[in-house]
């Protein structure tokens, strides 16, 4: 596609539910990043993929968070047993290069946990 596509745009979950957020990066982009952005704050790094390999997951806040990119294209961020503090916008970004260059962001998935 022309840009990074994320779905769903909005998700409301009850506390304790599992959620899955999808990211479809720009075709041919090697690098894929997930960031978490709380209201009024800057994005916080969660995890990084180079093709299908998850090279850095140091930003994942707990073992309830899991990300995958099995075929080196589409990625899914899964949050198990959601908590209220998980409420945030989850941004996906892709870039052509490895570690360098411009990041192209999707519009984000806004998660609200009640």
């Amino acid at each position: 596609g022309a840009g990074v596509s994320q779905s769903p745009r909005y998700k409301v979950a009850k506390r304790g539910q599992d959620v899955a957020l999808r990211c479809d990066p720009i075709s041919g982009h090697v690098s894929l990043f997930w960031y978490q952005q709380a209201l009024g704050q800057g994005p916080e790094f969660l995890t990084y993929f180079q093709n299908e390999a998850q090279l850095d997951k140091s930003g994942l806040p707990s073992d309830r968070f899991f990300a995958e990119r099995p075929e080196g294209s589409v990625s899914t961020l899964k949050i198990q047993r959601t908590q209220q503090e998980d409420s945030a916008v989850y941004l996906c970004a892709s870039s052509f290069g490895i570690y360098t260059g411009e990041l192209f962001f999707g519009e984000g998935s806004r998660l609200t946990v009640l």
């Binding site: 704050q41 800057g42 790094f45 970004a93 360098t100």
Partner: protein, 111 residues
């Protein structure tokens, strides 16, 4: 404490005014980027600076990277309502590191 501190956090000005926002750190960065984010959208890259002392201009926006590569500034001349948004600086400590974002400066330009 964030690696990149941005100031001010909020800025509300009238159309036609000039402004400067700052991005500071005690760490040295190999490169630094500025992004702008509008409500409901993802951040969009404005500029990348890599050399200490570098100055880049993008129409009414002037970006400067500090000589020691620890800080950066964004100056907007004659601000317009279309400049309204969240301005984010983001840096890499070295070529192999992730992009770390500052907390952002929320700018509102009133007509």
């Amino acid at each position: 404490t964030q690696l990149l501190e941005q100031s001010p956090q909020f800025l509300s000005i009238q159309e036609g005014e000039n402004l400067t926002v700052y991005c500071n750190s005690s760490s040295v960065f190999s490169s630094l980027q500025w992004y702008r984010q509008e409500p409901g959208e993802g951040p969009v890259l404005l500029v990348t600076v890599v050399t200490g002392g570098e100055v880049k201009k993008l129409k009414r926006l002037t970006f400067q990277f500090g000589d020691a590569r620890k800080d950066s500034s964004l100056h907007i001349t004659a601000a317009q309502p279309g400049d309204t948004g969240l301005y984010l600086c983001a840096g890499r400590l070295n070529a192999g590191n992730m992009l770390t974002f500052g907390g952002g400066t929320r700018l509102m330009v009133k007509p």
